[in-house]
């Protein structure tokens, strides 16, 4: 039937080569025991305490975001629960990875702001623009080339900004800053100093119109600049007052500091020092004066970690969508070709302050910096699932090892029972299928070997952990795997009952059995994919295991069982219908079988 000559031995060899490679990879990884889940092995418990008293909703929202973060990197089946009204407990199988605490805890409030001044560029140093007012006191806004739009037209991105004061921010207003000086380049600067009732931030989603901020960053308020001069940066990137205490400002000050990170005020902050031993890219901590927030993390469509082509260092790729994309395009257009910078600010700290090398209109941004693979992945994971609605107190976080939730005897009992069950299954197959039963036993053994290798490899690659339900699922998968063989063997027997010889029946039975198995396995794969994409947590882990065992079933069936049977069909023991082959007339329940010899029955 097949045009290609059947070469079972070759297929078998290739298959075993593949298995050997898999085990080679396992050996390279060096761990020969699978990583076990929370219930069997225990793990790490991270207890986070909110710094303020959060509402139930925001605590719950934080719980689900953290859940996505810890489970977003793989299928480890971590558990996240709320506790006592202001705490979140994260339980992760295995030893705590270094970055994990940071991934969980980071608020991940991402904002794009424009750089007005920094340690390296004096304030208002938009050197490319001749109109740049060194003494900005008398410059009317409308004449700034950076704001070419008609004043009547609502600026880009403005409509998104839910103004906390309820006033349209392009309406000129008298400045209320203590300095009393007019803010010449920014008519709405007044609005950036709303008197907050609470030290927290009222409106996390605030974005300022891009063109106003572009203008402002060229010519910041003298009052703000004055405040800017008062602070210094420590090496670790914390903003300090002159006396070394952490920076604070009054709630009604015209600027904000990292601890508050009010998007509707200019921000004074730092970028941590960079120390790359052996290279000349050392850079001390840098202080920045940044504009109001122009793009918020809520506009992020996706975040991923990667290494760009022709480069060696890790970056985090961002994709800005929605209104943020328009704003980003506007920034890009204004900044391209100049030395002016914009800053990507995470939780109040500048993580990158690039210049625009080219015009970017599709919202694709990249954060490069001092990333390693794990820190880039950690940041991307934190960003991907959005910012936490609450912050956690640093000193109240505890990280502890926890023991397994199931008694130690359960794993042992489960595995013993599973092994006894497998033994019985094999015994049954041998009794019923005799010689062919050996193929079942060998196939199950091979499937078990492949599964073990995959569990080990995926434990490394996707944080796959074996939980008790997972092990039970794998044992049920034995039934499904064995079913493929049963379907095939029953087909062979049926074909032989119709008078075909064994060697013919093996091939014609294969076609039917193959279609049946592919159809049935397609259903399982469908379930695995649907649940893996949509579900979270335990169900996701289940879907992963289901998909894995189904694929292994298909692979073993196609590349081991079939060639094995084809190969065995060449032996007289099978094709002459030996009593122990399981394919004799008696076993088939017919009077005589076709021995396939030309010229009739011998």
């Amino acid at each position: 039937m097949a045009k290609k000559p059947v070469r079972p031995a070759r297929t078998l060899m290739v298959f075993f080569l593949g298995v050997a490679i898999a085990y080679g990879l396992v050996a390279l990884n060096g761990s020969w025991t699978p990583s076990l889940g929370l219930d069997l092995q225990g793990g790490t418990r991270i207890q986070l305490t909110a710094s303020s008293d959060p509402s139930e909703e925001s605590l719950d929202e934080a719980r689900s975001i953290i859940d996505q973060r810890v489970n977003g990197q793989g299928v480890a089946e971590a558990e996240v629960t709320t506790q006592g009204g202001n705490q979140i407990v994260v339980e992760i199988p295995g030893e705590s990875a270094g970055e994990l605490e940071e991934v969980v805890k980071r608020q991940a409030q991402l904002r794009f702001r424009l750089v007005a001044c920094s340690d390296f560029s004096p304030c208002g140093s938009g050197t490319q623009t001749p109109q740049n007012p060194l003494t900005p006191s008398a410059e009317p806004t409308a004449e700034l080339p950076e704001a070419p739009q008609s004043p009547n037209r609502p600026p880009v991105g403005f409509d998104r900004a839910a103004d906390p004061t309820g006033e349209p921010s392009d309406e000129p207003k008298q400045d209320q800053t203590p300095s009393g000086g007019a803010s010449p380049s920014e008519p709405s600067a007044s609005e950036s100093a709303p008197v907050d009732d609470v030290p927290g931030v009222d409106d996390e989603g605030f974005t300022a119109p891009v063109d106003e901020e572009l203008a402002w960053s060229q010519a910041p308020d003298p009052a703000v600049v004055q405040l800017f001069e008062q602070f210094t940066c420590a090496d670790d990137g914390t903003l300090q007052k002159a006396d070394g205490t952490p920076a604070t400002v009054a709630p009604d000050a015209p600027v904000t500091v990292p601890a508050v990170d009010d998007p509707s005020k200019p921000l004074i902050t730092c970028e941590p020092a960079e120390n790359n031993p052996g290279t000349d890219s050392d850079r001390p901590a840098t202080k920045y004066l940044l504009s109001r927030s122009v793009i918020n993390g809520t506009d992020l469509d996706s975040a991923s970690a990667g290494v760009p082509q022709n480069e060696v260092s890790w970056v985090v790729n961002l994709e800005v969508g929605g209104d943020g994309q328009d704003a980003f395009t506007a920034i890009s257009r204004a900044l391209v070709g100049s030395e002016r910078q914009f800053a990507i600010v995470l939780d109040g700290e500048v993580i990158s302050a690039p210049t625009m090398d080219g015009l970017i209109t599709n919202g694709q941004a990249q954060i490069s910096g001092n990333f390693t693979e794990s820190s880039a992945n950690a940041l991307a994971t934190s960003l991907k699932f959005g910012a936490l609605p609450i912050t956690f107190a640093d000193d109240a976080t505890t990280v502890e090892e926890i023991g397994p939730t199931l008694a130690g005897n359960q794993l042992a009992a489960g595995i013993t029972a599973g092994l006894i069950g497998l033994g019985l299954v094999m015994l049954y197959c041998l009794l019923y299928y005799r010689g062919l039963g050996l193929v079942v036993v060998a196939s199950l053994a091979v499937a078990a070997g492949v599964t073990y290798a995959m569990v080990l490899l995926l434990g490394e690659a996707a944080n796959f952990t074996l939980t008790l339900p997972g092990i039970a699922g794998l044992i049920v998968a034995v039934g499904i795997t064995a079913d493929s063989f049963i379907v095939y063997f029953e087909r062979i027997r049926d074909e032989m009952r119709e008078g075909k010889s064994m060697r013919v029946a093996v091939e014609s039975g294969w076609v039917r059995a193959r279609n049946t198995c592919l159809a049935a396995d397609a259903v399982s794969i469908l379930a695995a994919i649907a649940l893996f994409i949509f579900a979270v947590g335990v169900v996701k882990g289940f879907a992963f295991a289901l998909g894995l065992s189904t694929i292994i079933d298909v692979v073993v069936f196609f590349f081991f069982t079939k060639p094995m049977v084809s190969w065995l069909a060449r032996f007289k023991f099978f094709n002459r219908g030996h009593k122990l082959s399981g394919l004799d007339a008696n076993a088939l329940g017919v009077d005589s079988i076709n021995l396939g010899t030309a010229g009739g029955r011998a």
Binding site: Q83, A413, C429, A472, G479, D521, S524, V538
Partner: protein, 412 residues
């Protein structure tokens, strides 16, 4: 084994046949009774949701480091489970660091909580005021997890219907498969409710495993049904007969598969129920055992008869049904169609039923005819027998052989 194999052969050829499709009302009734019991148990007893769903109480017990180990945790788990408080029947007990053990239970009343604290003090001997801190914990399986899992499930089921429709070219099979799956899942949930096992995330995965297994099994049986019913006219069967033959042909497989799938699960159930006390292993294996058995049962007794039932209204199927009936009648009594003589009888009357039977019987082919009584006498004298038997498939060679008839029958 020999007898079983002989049975396998007879089932395959159709010599022996269990009437799965024809007696569908029996199976429907059996399933209905089981389902009523299951749903009744579910509504009356309700499901016992675990800590992961309900949240609950947490007791952190500070212990000296030589006591804060797994053995103490195991001991505590058993002691707390033994208090007889229903909501504390399967506590989660873990060590935390090397100086504490955490005990989690479902929400408790103040009295029950005090009892738990007493039990902890009894086992560990700690100071109930200073060393035990009580806390409230929220569910880790919140609304959102359940919702997302449900969305995944819905997407899967829609995909499944599309897949079955595309593969089998028959949406009624999708209905059959869905009914069978719902049947299995409901039975499993009912058993859970009646036995009173705690519903944990582990049992949810168990339920999903059953869902997958049940569909898998149904598709295997449906594949045979499709194969048998592909060409009803050629196989000279009604849809119901063909479907029934398919179920019988796959019966040996179904039995083998259920044995192979149930043995390991059964052993785990036995070991965990007999040897271990409260354990999620027991709950899980029970769900799997019941669900797997129901899965095999439903694809044979529910899914296939239901598809045949649904299809019984299609004109093509009705036609095949009518032909099969006519054929059966003609075989049972060859003279039934010979009209009784009356005075004004037309010289030659054709009943289309008889005609059709004869017309179909004329080309003899396939193996099924060899076992049936030959209709030789039926048409004698009224229709001229065919000149010669056409060439037919022979079993021995796999190619067509000319036939040779005895001399007296040959036409000269």
């Amino acid at each position: 084994m020999g007898k079983f194999s002989r049975l396998g052969n007879e089932l395959y050829t159709g010599e022996k046949s269990i009437d799965f499709v024809g007696r569908r009302w029996t199976w429907y009734a059996v399933s209905a009774v089981i389902l009523v019991i299951a749903i009744g148990g579910w509504t009356i007893k309700g499901l016992n949701f675990g800590i992961e769903f309900t949240g609950g109480n947490q007791y952190t017990v500070s212990l000296p480091s030589d006591q804060a180990n797994q053995d103490t945790a195991d001991e505590l788990r058993e002691a707390v489970a033994a208090t007889g408080i229903e909501d504390a029947s399967s506590p989660i007990v873990t060590t935390q660091g090397d100086s504490a053990i955490v005990v989690q239970t479902e929400p408790l009343t103040d009295d029950e909580s005090a009892e738990i604290v007493d039990t902890i003090v009894e086992v560990t001997g700690v100071d109930p005021d200073g060393d035990i801190s009580e806390n409230e914990i929220g569910p880790s399986w919140g609304q959102e997890v359940a919702e997302r899992s449900l969305i995944g499930l819905m997407v899967f089921l829609v995909g499944l219907v599309l897949f079955i429709w595309a593969y089998f070219r028959e949406w009624k099979m999708a209905v059959g498969a869905l009914v069978a799956v719902g049947h299995d899942v409901l039975i499993t949930i009912g058993v859970y409710a009646i036995v009173g096992f705690e519903v944990t995330p582990a049992s949810v995965t168990g339920l999903l495993t059953i869902l997958g297994f049940s569909l898998y099994d149904t598709v295997v049986v449906f594949d045979q049904v499709r194969n048998n019913t592909k060409n009803l006219r050629a196989s000279r069967q009604s849809y119901a007969q063909a479907a029934n033959l398919a179920v019988n042909q796959t019966l040996v497989r179904s039995i083998n598969t259920s044995i192979v799938a149930l043995i390991p699960v059964g052993v785990i159930l036995y070991v965990s129920a007999i040897q271990l006390g409260a354990s999620s292993l027991k709950d899980l294996s029970l769900a799997l055992f019941v669900g797997t058995a129901a899965g095999v049962y439903s694809s044979v007794f529910i899914a296939t008869p239901l598809v045949a039932h649904l299809k019984s209204n299609e004109s093509e199927v009705k036609e095949a049904e009518r032909r099969a009936k006519a054929r059966a009648r003609a075989e049972a009594d060859p003279y039934a169609t010979v009209p009784v003589f009356t005075e004004d009888m037309p010289a030659r009357e054709e009943t289309d039923e008889a005609d059709e039977v004869l017309e179909e019987d004329a080309p003899v082919s396939g193996s099924s005819s060899s076992r049936r009584p030959q209709p030789g006498a039926t048409g004698r004298g009224r229709t001229v027998p065919p000149v010669r038997r056409p060439v037919q498939e022979s079993r021995s060679s796999g190619r067509q052989q000319p036939s040779r008839q005895s001399k007296s029958k040959r036409q000269k």
